[in-house]
Subunit: 407 residues, 2 copies
């Protein structure tokens, strides 16, 4: 008998038929003797419908009221699933974030969980009742409804699993696990049985949008075993955990991630004095623009070039700021390029193996792909390339690192 927290996303509860299917799945687990807490998202499309209503009134709805509005989406699904479970003869009980009490800070629309009162849920579990909890939402200490931001239901599930010391947190989604890369790009991509939190973080932040990144951080921090599974078909999914796979045959690289949603900016001919990077990047981050890859080249004429990437939607704003900085610093010019992509190889195995990066560069060279930027961390190597080569690059790397599924 295990204590399992299961989370079902919007498409998994997108219709009454889907909610009934989730109820069947939950009932099967309960009949196997497991104790369950179920965390739900809103029915797919519902959150957008609610936001659409607000936007008919104003382009800039007040965040507190936005949270009151959108939090109704999950409240609907928890009630419906509880009814469906009771119809199957199970004991079930729904809880809004406020009822559990999931206490967050007061940052509406992007709140962070500060505390979860596990008493009510534990007493339900002990009584054999399935607790059905609204994901994505909480209350601040004053009782105002808050939401965690898009994808926050994953975080709710992990946080509850941590608070209850659950044996596993299962995230049901519309894919059956984490893949070596996007199967739409590489047909030979394989589902991973296991992956470490660190690897998953690199994969998620680089565009493999299976799990919300904050939920992975949370799970890693509290050591909650996290499993990604499909709510549409049976299968073991992918287990994300602290331990590395001890399979000796495991390839050096777990997966290949890529992201087309970045743009590159370069400021050229900046006088190379101490603090120049912060002079250049400070105003960017003050404008709440997140900077990803940063490269500074050493120069020989007492000037330097700094290149960095931002989300593509932020490029225009970042370029304006950068031009102002360029004038102030007497820099030579500002260049922008929206047509780039970042491709990364990720794997804890590379920690203890030299030569991973050079295998990557050889593979790209063999396909005649020019590398514009390179960054590395302990468990990943990323390159920025021309966007048009991204599929070619990913397919080549997938083969080069032995990730292709057998024919």
């Amino acid at each position: 008998m295990s204590l399992i927290v299961q989370k079902y996303g919007g498409t998994s509860v997108g219709s009454i038929e889907r909610i009934e299917a989730v109820a069947d799945k939950v009932a099967a687990f309960v009949r196997q003797g497991h104790q369950l807490v179920v965390v739900l998202s809103a029915m797919s499309g519902e959150t957008n419908r609610l936001i659409g209503l607000a936007n008919q009134i104003t382009e800039t709805p007040e965040p507190r009221e936005m949270d009151v509005l959108v939090s109704t989406g999950e409240q609907v699904t928890i009630a419906l699933l509880s009814m469906a479970l009771m119809k199957r003869g199970l004991q079930a009980r729904s809880y809004t974030g406020g009822q559990v009490r999931i206490v967050t800070d007061s940052a509406h629309m992007k709140a962070r969980i500060e505390d979860i009162n596990s008493d009510t849920l534990m007493s339900d579990i002990s009584a054999g009742t399935v607790a059905v909890v609204a994901g994505f939402q909480g209350v601040d200490v004053e009782g105002n409804i808050t939401t965690l931001g898009r994808g926050g239901s994953d975080t709710t599930a992990v946080a509850i699993a941590a608070a209850l010391k659950a044996d596993e947190c299962q995230i049901y989604t519309d894919v059956d696990g984490v893949y070596t890369t996007d199967p739409r790009v590489v047909s030979k991509a394989q589902r991973l049985d296991r992956i470490t939190f660190e690897e998953m973080l690199e994969m998620a932040s680089l565009g493999s949008k299976v799990l919300q990144i904050r939920s992975v951080e949370f799970a890693g921090k509290y050591g909650v075993p996290l499993r990604v599974l499909s709510s549409f078909e049976d299968g073991p999914g992918t287990l994300i955990s602290l331990e590395e796979d001890d399979n000796m045959e495991k390839p050096l690289i777990s997966g290949i991630a890529f992201n087309r949603d970045e743009a590159k900016l370069t400021i050229r001919g900046v006088p190379d004095t101490p603090g120049v990077a912060s002079r250049v990047l400070g105003p960017i981050s003050e404008a709440n623009i997140e900077v990803d890859v940063i490269i500074q080249n050493v120069s020989d004429d007492n000037t330097t070039d700094i290149t960095f990437t931002v989300a593509r939607g932020d490029m225009k704003k970042a370029a304006e700021i950068l031009k102002k900085t360029a004038e102030e610093l007497g820099a030579r010019e500002v260049l922008t390029d929206p047509k780039i992509a970042k491709v990364s190889i990720v794997g804890v195995g590379m920690r203890s193996h030299a030569g991973v990066a050079s295998t990557m560069f050889q593979s790209l060279a063999a396909d005649n792909i020019n590398i514009q930027m390179i960054t590395t961390s302990e468990i990943k190597v990323s390159v920025v390339i021309d966007e048009k080569y991204v599929e070619l690059a990913v397919r080549g790397l997938h083969t080069a690192f032995g990730l292709d599924a057998a024919e």
Copy 2:
């Protein structure tokens, strides 16, 4: 400067355009210097949509979960109106029933308000903030979401007005006040400027469905002046208050109510022994069927006839129960008639005036309408007649009691 509680029903907030119109109305009151608490229903159709979702899962949804589900309807409108008010430069803040704290008993789907914490609302009002409260809902002492049953938003508004000692509780609806009778039946029906709580109770319970009856009882009990107005057009509406109109010209009768939604049952030839009425009617009320008019005739052969009316939808079930009782008591027969209507004249004026009933009977006789049952109370006289005569009867009585509007 007055403290006003305003309630807007489902059609008044049925679309974004209507919500914007309500915001305009509220803003105008605030700019006149009034302090406002606004109570809202769900957008028209939304509650039925939610119930429809539940009924796709089960015919008998669990009441606690039903309340979690349907309470989202008002939560959506309070957020949207608050946004619309802020767009107009007003301070506004939404509250669910649980956030206010409107404490009810635990009778889900038909809860009764036990207590309202007025602290939060009062501090908003003092700060010049419009408090926008979800009608129809509350929480029990354990924090479970409850609803007051259909029409409960009126009750929420009155209860808040009582708790805040508001100067007036205004119920905005799709009619511009309380009429002497249904204008669809009598074109010369007139809007009443004033009516007493007692009269309104008789009018409401008899089918003039302007206000939820429980809210009128509540207002009467706490002496909250209640005004019914149109949210679609300007006008004074109808004030419902403790005091009678002191206008000497006031007619004896305030209005004529009628109800086509009843059915008549008769048990004939029951042995006339003490307790026979309770033997007959006890099983009916045990089956949760509400009995309205009851008549027992004295008989001369030691048997008696008992006739009563129930809601038309309950007739079949009531007849089954009555037939069983008839067998047990050795009664002669059971008769049912779904095609009846109840017509009532209502007015506090009749207390001090004889002859009101006979004017009624004369009017009906002049139109050749046979009276099947008669009941009277201090401020009303009701007759049960064949349903097909209801319009004829109401028009005749409206003229006979001098209620017709001048040409």
